[in-house]
């Protein structure tokens, strides 16, 4: 038998067709998670019309590329809280909108799931998630612009992390032009989105702690001028957090940090500042050896049995 070109093409076409049909089928059903959604919806007290509508919304969201496991969590948690089907559909709609805009959908899903778990009123969750979606859209444009201006992308996730960091900053009303200026500074120094995200996250944390924006900006710009790495930026956040917990006044903490930066210490000030007895008497295990651990909780890394109580 001779295999001619049209026949080969036909065979390949059939194979590709089968692959695509199975893919669409997988996306539409969402596998195990969609079954869970169906069971939860069918067992709920919603009217038949609302059940059908919610299932369709879920299926459409999964087809749009929102992870089925996350949709399942939202539907189940929403129903468990006795929410109306429309409220849950609204949450799913916010996630779908982010996905359709090609924005990172994880932060939006996380916000919704977190709000549902923490017992936040649905309207507040919806408002917060929607605002976050809007900030992500603005952040995405800023990050795209910075990439064009020369900020390097080292890893595939770098841009997404940058978008998340900028959205977080925008939520804290850090002005767009300040963020862009910081990005341009990174671009001029041929820096990457890793450095940019670290800078933005640190300035946002400072603002969250109550530091005036202009002071936070001054400190971060100084750190950028000195070429601080991501690790050193995180160290700055830790230092500031430590000083706040120790009861320092914000003015004193800022001055202290600036002084230490001038002296060349980068993000490890707390190692020389601690006055506590070490791990403390509670269960806490976080922090460096010189930092007193507060009673209560704690985390440590490593295999089982490594931690000390």
């Amino acid at each position: 038998m001779r295999l001619n070109a049209p026949r080969t093409c036909l065979l390949i076409l059939i194979t590709v067709g089968l692959l695509m049909v199975s893919q669409v089928s997988m996306a539409e059903t969402g596998g195990k998670e969609f079954d869970e959604i169906k069971i939860s919806v069918e067992q709920s007290s919603l009217s038949l019309e609302k059940k059908t509508s919610l299932l369709k919304r879920s299926s459409d969201a999964i087809s749009a590329g929102v992870p089925s496991a996350d949709i399942a969590v939202i539907v189940k948690r929403g129903l468990a809280r006795g929410m109306d089907g429309r409220g849950i559909e609204d949450f799913i709609g916010i996630a779908v909108k982010s996905k359709e805009q090609n924005l990172p959908v994880r932060p939006v899903l996380d916000r919704i799931q977190q709000g549902l778990s923490k017992g936040v009123p649905p309207e507040q969750i919806s408002g917060s998630a929607r605002r976050l979606g809007e900030k992500l859209a603005t952040a995405d444009k800023i990050v795209d612009g910075l990439e064009k201006s020369g900020v390097k992308v080292d890893k595939r996730s770098d841009k997404e992390n940058g978008t998340r960091a900028v959205a977080r900053a925008l939520e804290k009303t850090i002005p767009e032009d300040m963020i862009t200026k910081m990005g341009m500074k990174v671009a001029q120094k041929r820096g990457s989105f890793t450095t940019f995200s670290a800078s933005i996250n640190t300035i946002t944390t400072f603002v969250e702690m109550g530091m005036p924006l202009e002071h936070a900006s001054k400190l971060i710009n100084k750190a950028m001028d000195k070429g601080y790495s991501e690790k050193e930026m995180i160290g700055m956040e830790r230092d500031m957090s430590y000083m706040m917990r120790e009861g320092w006044m914000m003015d004193d903490a800022m001055k202290s940090m600036e002084t230490m930066m001038n002296k060349g210490f980068a993000g490890n000030m707390h190692k020389g500042m601690g006055t506590g007895p070490g791990l403390g008497s509670g269960a806490g295990m976080g922090g460096s050896p010189s930092m007193p651990a507060a009673p209560g909780g704690g985390m440590h890394h490593g295999g089982p049995g490594m931690g000390r109580h």
Partner: protein, 219 residues
């Protein structure tokens, strides 16, 4: 070889231009004097003229295979036909259009497969965490609590998935496998009271007015 054959052979050599001028002259003399030989010579020369002046047709591609295909097919058993279908050698003829179509299909198929893989990863999120993760032991001291859970973005803020185990000293613990990265979490005491980890190094607003604790897992 008889005389006529010899003469015919010489005529062939003459027409092919292989005879010397002397041999050529002798042969032409004999041809002109012998009517039979003359006829033979004229016939052969007209054939040579026809070949030289006639249009040359190009052999069509796959001429041999086309001829072979027109030959009556031999009777072959079903078993042999099946065997030939799977194991028989094939000749695949290509042209640019076929190559381009195949390339497009390969690209589409690869894209489809990658997309499927991507979706598959989402579905198997839980198991992928365990592949290359390191264990983080989370602990919380609450001797009076009846139940403590840790909920965070690593378990979709699920209280059920983050239920901790109480040790004899009143410390609740849970081992969580985590990839390197930054995570946010809170403790949930008795299923309803959400508290930040007092020993966390960093806190971040959760978007609802509370502070999540921050955990960084590095390589």
């Amino acid at each position: 070889m008889d005389k006529m054959d010899k003469e015919r052979h010489l005529i062939h050599e003459l027409l092919d231009g292989e005879l010397s001028p002397e041999e050529r002259r002798d042969l032409l003399d004999r041809v002109n004097s012998d009517p039979l030989l003359k006829r033979e010579f004229d016939d052969l020369r007209s054939v040579v003229d026809m070949v030289e002046t006639g249009e040359r047709l190009a052999v069509p591609p796959a001429f041999t295979s086309q001829v072979m295909r027109r030959l009556p097919a031999p009777r072959v058993s079903f078993r042999k036909r099946v065997s030939s279908f799977f194991f028989g050698a094939r000749v695949l003829r290509w042209n640019l259009a076929t190559a381009l179509v195949t390339l497009c299909l390969v690209v589409i198929a690869t894209g489809a497969l990658l997309q499927m893989q991507k979706k598959g990863n989402v579905v198997s999120y839980q198991s992928s965490v365990e592949k290359s993760s390191r264990t983080v032991i989370i602990s919380f001291q609450a001797p009076q609590a009846k139940a403590v859970a840790v909920a965070g973005d690593f378990n979709q803020w699920s209280i059920e998935k983050g239920l901790m185990e109480k040790k004899s000293d009143g410390v609740w613990t849970l081992e969580v496998p985590l990839e390197p990265g930054t995570y946010h979490y809170m403790f949930v005491v008795d299923g309803e009271v959400w508290v930040s980890d007092p020993s966390a190094e960093l806190f971040r607003d959760d978007g609802f007015g509370n502070k999540n604790s921050v955990l960084r897992v590095s390589l």
